[in-house]
Symmetry: D2
Subunit: 427 residues, 4 copies
């Protein structure tokens, strides 16, 4: 991933150095297990621990010669240890190390995302509670529908982010799996007990069965989960961009970007960036799904693309979460504009309340629907308020008194259950 979208601490997790470190951790844990089980000499294990040195430069040198990164890494370790080095990687295949280490990295990456989601949830909650009763117009199809509160909009995000947290947890459970079963998963050259011990030490579940690798349905679940999280963030970003428009002006990013040519511009740039990056996470999830079918016990088609999509998806999702948290934390909410916008459509948002009242009073649904629709067109044509138009309608007057009409045009009618909804989340 390009620097621009790589932030700490996610960034450090996906460097070559960090990868080597994880590989070393797995190799040494295997050495320990082998020694404990008496399958390699205990002294050899001690010597390895004393002498082993991660030499990234040397590993790279060997890789350039032999074109196999894990094999090169193991050779560089052996060189640092001397003769006892031959007990490193004993009975293993590359993917015992690579896939187990990858599980460790992904688990930690998911923890980081989990933490960032928590921070975002806090900000969303705070803003939701603050704007629990901030009245604004609800819009469907871009058109005024009926009144809502800004807090309700935030609460929907809150609930969806919480579902995201649960999905992250489920993904973490499924990826917290290791595999030390040898070239084709038969444990021919490495005892099943080694896998048990290594996984216990690393706090991973051993895979119940494997071939050369961990099956890729696990990674597909992880990346589709990130894509759903990214989708939630995209949805929030699109909403903010829409509310940010000049004509709506109900919210504004706290640190909007400017323009090189137009000094007056204040753009919702962070939200736009989040919108765009969601596409990447989504597409990477698709690649992870494509990676599931592997020929026989292993092939390398998924290897090249996983080097790209797994780090990139985590880095970008992390960047998006962090950015969205900043946007929410510094969002400027213009409740004056919210009020103006709601009123600007001159009462049409109350049309359903009138419809139902007319039905209750005995008018047929279809008739009532047509009647109000005609009056709503009058509002548009004349600039009058819907209440006024209805009050001028003879038929309406036979059904509704002026007082009843007033009641129907009271915004509180729409907000009477807001506290009930909030009560499902917060005390």
């Amino acid at each position: 991933m390009i620097d621009r979208y790589s932030l700490s601490p996610m960034k450090e997790l996906w460097t070559q150095e960090a990868k080597y470190q994880r590989w070393l951790e797995v190799e040494l844990t295997v050495v320990d297990a082998l020694a404990e089980l008496g399958q390699i000499p205990k002294e050899a294990a001690n010597t390895i621990h004393q002498k082993v040195k991660l030499n990234a430069k040397r590993a790279k040198e060997i890789e350039d010669k032999i074109g196999h990164d894990l094999l090169a890494f193991v050779r560089s370790l052996e060189e640092s240890v001397g003769p006892e080095g031959r007990f490193i990687h004993r009975g293993l295949t590359s993917y015992d190390v690579v896939d187990t280490a990858l599980s460790l990295t992904i688990r930690q990456a998911l923890e980081i995302l989990n933490h960032e989601m928590g921070l975002l949830l806090q900000e969303v909650k705070k803003l939701a509670l603050e704007h629990r009763h901030t009245i604004m117009v609800g819009r469907t199809h871009g058109m005024h529908a009926e009144p809502i509160t800004f807090g309700l909009k935030l609460l929907i995000w809150y609930a969806e982010l919480q579902r995201g947290l649960q999905r992250l947890a489920a993904a973490q459970a499924v990826i917290s799996t290791g595999k030390i079963s040898g070239s084709v998963g038969t444990y021919a050259n490495v005892d099943p007990e080694v896998e048990q011990k290594v996984c216990a030490k690393l706090n991973l579940q051993p895979a119940l069965v494997s071939n050369q690798l961990l099956q890729r349905d696990r990674h597909a679940q992880v990346l589709t989960t990130l894509a759903i999280v990214a989708g939630t963030l995209e949805k929030m970003a699109v909403e903010i961009r829409n509310l940010h428009r000049t004509e709506i002006g109900e919210v504004r990013e706290g640190a909007p970007h400017g323009s090189s040519s137009m000094p007056h511009k204040q753009n919702p740039s962070t939200s736009e960036t989040i919108s765009g990056l969601a596409r990447l996470v989504r597409l990477n999830a698709l690649a992870a799904l494509e990676n599931m079918p592997v020929w026989h016990e292993q092939d390398l088609t998924r290897s090249s693309i996983e080097r790209i999509i797994i780090p990139d998806s985590f880095l970008v999702t992390h960047y998006m979460l962090r950015s969205m948290t900043k946007v929410i934390a510094s969002l400027r909410v213009n409740f004056e504009r919210m009020k103006e916008n709601l009123e600007s459509s001159r009462g049409v948002v109350y049309s359903q309340a009138v419809l139902l009242k007319l039905i209750d009073k005995g008018m047929l649904r279809m008739e009532a629907h047509e009647l109000i629709r005609a009056r709503a067109l009058e509002v548009e044509a004349t600039g009058k308020h819907l209440k006024e138009c209805l009050a001028g309608d003879k038929k309406v007057r036979t059904y509704l008194s002026p007082e009843e009409l007033d009641e129907l045009f009271d915004v509180q009618y729409h907000l009477k259950h807001v506290d009930v909804i909030f009560g499902r989340f917060f005390d």
Copy 2:
């Protein structure tokens, strides 16, 4: 979905008739709840139940005029009932009905898939147990690696399909949600208690908060779950196609398709079809992710595409599961060819066992690796067996006795833990 890939009972679930039936179910459940809560007259509810008639033709007629399917449907119901019909759909917005009904349909569709997965799991289990000890060569990168059993290959599928079952269950939990909260989710015109009652009757969880619709992260989870299931089936299909090849010939589809021009052909056509259809389910999942961001409280961009991708994904996944079950149930396994193929590479599959023995005896990993690699090239060049080539190597002879060499070339060395692995699944 085209007929060719639509099978009962999944097919019947997604017809226009079935959709109307669900809508009616939801509308009537709402009528009941309103009557119980005293919000519409009890007699009106009774009249509705007695008179209401689903008239698909009439609904379609009205839809052609007004271009709104749910609204047309409600009007057709009203017509069938007469004046009391005005209490149908009272205080609801279209999506209260459409989305709640969709949840019901998806839940049932997931149950059907769950059932089909169960059948497939049975067949895979049966075949796995039957071939627990059927020896074959494991292949990585298309090349011979080391011996496995065919049962182990099937066990990997078994385990992955089981994870699929868990994912289906998780998806079912998240989609078993209803929403009766009105136009923008404020319950302005329909009491929260109605939602409680309706959802309880339909055995759904009420959404804790909603706007005009159920949030689409739920549907995205459902469709990405189907895509992962489809990926597992694709993986199985690709494996069968590979083992089916003329040169490998280890399995054959029970009912292979022929060719119009070449009378001798017996093709793994069902597996090829499964391979291809997985692409559709995968892409539809991507569309479901794209559907997550909706402008404000609702827009209709997801509506058109959901009409296509949701039924299609279920129909195709169902077809794939059914087809794969047939393939597995009638798979012809040629263990003679498995044996021949294993032997055809003249012992190179035992190279790692030799490598480790040499290391244990004190040779450096790198040295041992190079030595065996050279002998393996000799196998290829001369047509001799690897054991023979090694036996002819002076250095090898200083490390290994002929008896030791014999032991290393024993296939049982590789299969000693097979029963341990099976024991994790079956008694």
Copy 3:
């Protein structure tokens, strides 16, 4: 594709009947070529022409038995002819017929799209010319930028649609290819001259080389081309939806859809549908790209999915084009609102003109940028017009006279080159 999005004449092109008709056309053209070349008896060819009968029901019956649609079709033809029927399909493989027929269908489908694009271009041109000078605000990032005309916006669509026409033509050229080269493309059982003759009669280019099928890069080009066309339509639809919003109100769909609950609603439903369907065409293009790699001389993975994605992409693109043409033809443009919206931001859209003038007069870019930015914030804070704020700035007054300031706030400054741009397209 579901009925809702299938329109004539595209719909008729993709029925089972139409497919059989094309297959018959290809089979008979081959019979003629073989007879002309003396490779089958002329009388047999005559008999075939006289007796052959397309019997869809019978073909389906046979297919249900043997599971191979083209083979079943050929057998049904043979039955209708009698003994001479054996000369039908002589030396061919199924895909000689299937792929050549598919090329014919796609070519015609592209012609239909070409025609629909032409109709859309006419409507866009008409509206562009009508609104050549209709002033509105240009928006970037959803925020007011500088004045444009509505005609310019339409002209951008016009130019992009024209590029779409060129892409359709390029796709048509690449798909107008036939292939009669037998099972693996060697012409072992059918002379190359047959292919020459058949392709000439069908007005196709013979593939220079083929295996069992036409290579799928051709079909991938067709479907990615449709996806680009769909992208253009999506872009137009998104723009219309944005301009249609209550707060903007600059355009309105001529036949907006209503709501079941809110009688006042007038939604840009057709544009929303177009937005959503673009996703399908885009994803199908991806499947077409995935279809390119085929194992050896043929496999059937692409076959199942092509049965779905090729018709669906054409049907949906056709529907989108037709729908967009209606939207444009009946679009209601509210130039009063355009004017009001432009003025609503109180002059900030002229900020760049002032910036440049200040730079020309010797102010540093950065200094001028900061100065105006500060005044723009004043506009927002106070509700005053930018001209007024600038006039109140001492520094500005030392650079600009009141007359100069007036000139910079003249909308005509922005529109002076509109006719130049239009002149590049229309006389």
Copy 4:
């Protein structure tokens, strides 16, 4: 893109430094045009040329402060020039520079790909001519079909790569477009003549109409073109992997990778990598299609993702082309294995020739088809050769003499037109 898949000279094209260099080139070309047209002082232009200095570090510093890369870049240029610096970027919007520079970069990137494709075509041609008559079995559905030559397989790739070249050229034509039309494309602050002059100097076509940016159908065409090229390479790679398998062994990568655990392994790793990377290019194309709809005259959703997908697609496609060229140039072809494999199916590949002969002799197609099918099953069951099985069939003997049977089992029957096909490409 990660280093591993970034090769010169493509790599250098996409660095931050190269981007700055292009931006400077565009800015200075604009300065020249403005000076020539008398819109800025000639001496100012001279001063700018003398003093301007690209200071990447300073530009980055400013960017970190203001968060806008192009604006920061322009300020850094201004600083290096002094007061006359204010004439840099005069009347431009960021995207005048960014998009015009991007067109220049993409054009050059396409030229690099074009060059690499040329090198690959040469290798494919060479190998095709060398193996024009190298007989092997053609396979459909993974099963033996009929004889072909290895040269024909290569020729199919050759033809498809040539179509790829044409698509690259078409993409280059559509992207060789510049745009210097100001903030919303009206030329309000920059004369259309400036765009004419700048584009002429840079050898680009000026866009006939634009808003703030070049329309993204152009970039979508570029990226879908790369995806089709990647699809062709994937197809080649998949074929090589399949022919490389232990059981087939007809080709081998010249520099196969080994295994850390199994010293005998020689894997088609380069082809596997190419297979996997194709997924990335394909998905990036989808993102480019998603980038087409932009809100109003510009939004930044496509900006973030374009920073990633455009360089990545070019880098990876370049890497794939380069890798495939090496694979083809060093491919080891084992024609002995090709012969053995062809013979291993004991004559069934000649079944169609027999079928047609029987039909010609008067047998009904269906009857002949069934007869041969039965004999082919006998081949499989008994291990006998098809010719032998047919010779033992009474019915066959009444139709065919032993000599006729011999002729039908002559491989030359299948290859008689190979030179005709090659003659369409090479003299």
